[in-house]
């Protein structure tokens, strides 16, 4: 059962009806204690529906989404999210308490359910760049602001590369790309894909290179220095890299310190910018070397 169906059963009747009305178009459901349910659908349409949700009801609803297994989500909750069995991510806010050097989520005051919905073929525009007819795979960084479909597109890239005959190693730190259950993907990520699920990206990439000899490594939302080092190392080992990151423009990506490390290391052959609407590709840039400095030209 997908998250929208589960929410229809769990939400107050009025909000459930509104959710039913927008069905397949729903992209987000935002729940806040003491306020009505916010449903977001299509290209940014939204509505506040029903009576305000009580804090206790919000707690019960989230517990049900977590399959009554709060302890299993604890680490992710402390980081501000948890992932559902269908790959949908639920961001959470509320009262945090200090526990030594880290902070723990003590009480959840609001949540944002981002509905995961595989879109077969949404990465078609990128595939000629990633897997040209010469048979060699190229590396690509997908960038966009939040909500433009990076994860969905990355999942389709994995599926197409994998079903196209390449072994793909997937570093799925937040369980969103493959939505693994007991280590087995529940979403279609292709026939030749191996997934390291729930492990920090840099460690997952190292494990994949060491153990699975993939032709391509795929990772979502890279950002840390460790990610840059691990991906550069994987590229030196001969694997193509496909990754995504938050950025609003090419210039923004080039100026972000954590991404600059990846781009200056010569890991990426292409950068694709998604937007302005979910699933759309605004532009693709190809790296070219000139006087020892990498420059990016429209492909």
């Amino acid at each position: 059962m997908g998250v929208v169906d589960r929410l229809m059963a769990l939400l107050p009747p009025e909000a459930g009806k509104a959710l039913t009305a927008h069905g397949d178009e729903v992209t987000e459901v935002r729940l806040r204690a003491g306020r009505p349910v916010q449903i977001v659908w299509g290209r940014g349409c939204d509505a506040l529906v029903g009576e305000p949700i009580e804090r206790a009801s919000l707690g019960r609803l989230l517990a049900a989404l977590m399959e009554y297994s709060v302890y299993a989500m604890q680490v992710d909750l402390d980081l501000g999210f948890f992932t559902l069995s269908d790959g949908s991510r639920v961001g959470v806010c509320g009262r945090m308490i200090a526990d030594g050097a880290r902070f723990r989520m003590a009480e959840i005051g609001s949540a944002c359910v981002r509905v995961a919905r595989p879109v077969t073929g949404c990465a078609n525009a990128l595939m000629p760049h990633l897997a040209p007819p010469d048979g060699a795979l190229r590396s690509m960084l997908l960038i966009s602001p939040p909500g433009m479909g990076k994860t969905t597109m990355l999942r389709d890239v994995v599926r197409q590369l994998s079903d196209g005959g390449k072994c793909v190693g997937l570093a799925d730190e937040r369980h969103e790309l493959a939505a693994c259950h007991m280590g087995v993907p529940t979403l279609d990520v292709g026939m030749r894909t191996d997934v390291v699920d729930g492990c920090p990206r840099d460690q997952a990439v190292a494990r994949l290179i060491r153990g699975m000899a993939p032709r391509a490594i795929v990772a979502d939302e890279i950002g840390g220095e460790g990610d840059a080092r691990a991906l550069a190392d994987a590229a030196r080992c001969g694997a193509a890299i496909v990754a995504s990151a938050h950025s609003v423009s090419l210039e923004d990506a080039l100026s972000r310190i954590c991404l600059r490390a990846v781009l200056e290391a010569g890991v990426m052959d292409y950068i694709a910018l998604l937007g302005p609407h979910p699933g759309m590709v605004r532009g693709v840039w190809r790296r070219s070397e000139g006087e020892g400095v990498a420059t990016w030209k429209r492909a």
Binding site: A63, Y68, V70, Y71, A72, R104
Partner: protein, 137 residues
């Protein structure tokens, strides 16, 4: 029965807080019939507490999986299932350890009572045998 439950809770603890399996999976893998019944109930989308309340009377009646348990034992299971999965890892570990401790204590009490009953029946048997012998003589 209490031995089986204590073992089941130990296994449940490993699957829940060690392997971070969701409650229904961990209950199914605990190797205990009562827990498996609760896991089945959770498949309907309810909490472990609600699933337990739905099956409690069925398993506790004569011939049920928890037929041998007393009302005290069932109270411990009430506490176990109502708190299962509702808090963080450390809290769950503490709760499962506390429940296991209570079950082991109830098991020891039950064994002690059974030993006393055994001695009583042996004494009664000897007494009746002696009386019969005296009557025959």
């Amino acid at each position: 029965m209490l031995d089986l439950l204590a073992e089941g809770i130990q296994t449940l603890r490993i699957h829940m807080t060690g392997m971070l399996q969701p409650v229904p999976c961990a209950l199914t893998n605990a190797g205990c019939e009562i827990m498996a019944r609760v896991a089945e109930g959770m498949g309907e989308g309810c909490s472990a507490g609600d699933a337990w309340r739905a099956v409690r009377d069925v398993v506790a009646r004569r011939g049920g999986a928890a037929d041998a348990l007393t009302e005290d034992d069932l109270d411990v299971l009430d506490a176990l299932f109502s708190g299962l999965g509702q808090s963080g890892r450390e809290e769950q570990e503490a709760m499962l350890d506390a429940v296991r401790f209570r079950i082991c204590r109830l098991r020891d009490e039950a064994l002690k009572k059974a030993g006393e009953a055994d001695r009583l029946y042996v004494s009664l048997g000897l007494l009746i045998g002696l009386m019969l012998a005296l009557i025959v003589i």
